[in-house]
């Protein structure tokens, strides 16, 4: 675990983590973490949605396709959703999706789901740090990134 940000490692693999977060809770909580000057890992790129209910599992698939090594999905605690029930729907959807990913053979440790409220800046920092450390230890998600369809294989004369 680190208390400093920008921790460099000798093997110089720094995971790329995409976070899909809801505007009203987690995004605001992340903002609070920022304004509170909390130090945290800098590997996470946040994509802001109005609500976790908007998050389609395809977003996660696309993130992995495009080079993400890990993904965070975070939103309001149950009963606190700005749109009343979006997070309840998300909860159901991701209950299924997570198990499906695991069944396919995608390491479940690359996916993090959390409820982070607007006042939980510290919790956001902990989620970010813990996820980054965990994904760094897992290494780059080359299995997904190298799925046929890439340019190098294209230059070798097509899929066969």
């Amino acid at each position: 675990m680190s208390d400093n940000g920008n921790k460099q490692h000798d093997n110089s693999f720094e995971p790329r983590i995409t976070a899909f977060v809801c505007t009203w809770c987690t995004y605001t909580g992340a903002d609070l973490a920022g304004t509170s000057r909390l130090q945290m890992e800098s590997n996470v790129r946040i994509i802001r949605l109005p609500c976790t209910g908007r998050i389609d599992p395809l977003f996660i698939i696309k993130a992995f396709e495009r080079g993400a090594d890990g993904v965070i999905v975070s939103g309001c605690h149950p009963a606190d959703c700005h749109y009343t029930a979006g997070n309840y729907h998300a909860r159901r959807r991701f209950t299924v999706f997570r198990e499906l990913m695991d069944f396919i053979g995608i390491d479940a440790r690359r996916l993090t789901f959390s409820w982070v409220s607007a006042s939980e800046g510290t919790k956001w920092k902990e989620i970010v740090d813990e996820t980054t450390d965990r994904v760094r230890a897992l290494g780059p998600f080359t299995a997904y990134h190298n799925l046929a369809g890439g340019a190098e294989e294209a230059m070798a004369g097509g899929v066969q």
Partner: protein, 358 residues
């Protein structure tokens, strides 16, 4: 034409020698579930010649299911295009089904029509096709009804016919000649002509029992029955699923897409497509000329038995029967052809000359 004999053991040695020389060897191979597919083999032991009909045709070795056409990359204000290679390493297909080899020859025409397709012909040039004469697979075969036969030489560079102890060999093209010359030590002189001819005649007679039609009459009927209740009837059971097109040796429609492979770069690819898909003819305007299944069913049959012959002089079907086996909705192309043939004959007001069979 050179005639030789090849023992079963020497076929295996020939395959091993080809592999050792760096030639890609494609042959029917059995997978763990017992299903046969054409695959590039790593060892001669994998060959499974003369068993079940390979699930897919040879099409994918000349028109891959997805194929990159070029790679594009934005560099400052310019776009760099990098084409893919159009020459390929030497390949040989050992033990192609005759219907599959004939299909490749049939497709040569459309790939040389309005544009000479370098990728198709690059692969064609690099490939020698050795056809294994077929004893007939099952009651779904109907190659004789579509102007070929189970021992056809169409598309083959060399034909081998099963005989006692191995194969009777006949070269067909220069590539076939080159093969027996380069690997002469595996072939012995003198074939087994009589035995081979018997095999071929028996196979032909068996397939003829499955379906007999007059393809010219069928074509004439199709030309004049664009609107017919038959298409609606077929459309009831047809799912428009495209399984038939996927396994068909002669279906060749493709879609071209640009795919991003990161920021400012990507590939243009061509992918298998099927006229049976609901959106195949969907225009950007929203109009869809073949939005109804009846039109798509009509299109498939017409393309194969009227349009392609009109344009290229050959049918776009080799009677392999895969469409019948693959269809989840119970479509049976021989049945459709029989009905059309019967209607065509009736229209000529001559005695119905339907082929022997059901």
């Amino acid at each position: 034409m050179t005639v030789k004999t090849l023992t079963t053991e020497n076929l295996s040695h020939l395959a091993a020698a080809l592999l050792a020389d760096g030639t890609e060897v494609i042959a029917p191979v059995k997978d763990s579930s017992g299903k046969v597919d054409y695959r590039a083999v790593k060892q001669a032991a994998e060959l499974a010649l003369g068993e079940a009909l390979p699930r897919k045709s040879l099409k994918e070795f000349f028109l891959p299911q997805t194929e990159c056409l070029f790679y594009f990359k934005q560099v400052k204000n310019d776009v760099e295009l990098t084409p893919v290679p159009t020459t390929f390493g030497p390949r040989i297909v050992l033990g192609a089904k005759p219907c599959d080899a004939a299909a490749v020859d049939i497709l040569d025409r459309v790939f040389d029509w309005d544009y000479h397709d370098e990728l198709w012909f690059g692969r064609r040039q690099a490939t020698t096709i050795v056809t294994l004469a077929c004893p007939m697979v099952d009651e779904f075969c109907f190659c004789t009804a579509v102007d070929i036969e189970p021992a056809t030489r169409q598309g083959a560079d060399m034909v081998i016919v099963p005989v006692a102890g191995g194969y009777h060999v006949e070269t067909v093209t220069e590539k076939g000649e080159a093969l027996v010359t380069k690997y002469a030590k595996y072939f012995s002189d003198g074939g087994k002509q009589a035995e081979a001819d018997t095999f071929r005649a028996e196979a032909k007679a068996k397939v003829e029992k499955n379906l007999g039609i007059n393809t010219k009459d069928v074509r004439a009927w199709l030309e004049t029955h664009f609107e017919d209740g038959l298409w609606h009837e077929l459309a009831w059971r047809c799912h428009g699923c495209g399984a038939c097109a996927a396994v068909c040796p002669t279906c060749h429609c493709f879609d071209i897409v640009d795919e991003s492979e990161g920021v400012n770069q990507g590939t243009r690819r061509r992918n298998w497509d099927t006229c049976q898909a609901g959106k195949f003819t969907l225009h950007a305007s929203g109009h869809n000329p073949r939005g109804e299944q009846c039109n798509r069913c009509r299109q498939r049959v017409s393309h194969k038995f009227m349009i392609y012959p009109e344009r290229f002089g050959v049918l776009l079907c080799t009677g392999c029967g895969r469409c019948v086996r693959a269809c989840p909705g119970g479509m049976v192309l021989p049945e459709v052809l029989r009905r059309v043939n019967a209607a065509a004959q009736a229209a000529k007001t001559e005695p119905v000359t339907e082929g022997v069979g059901q």
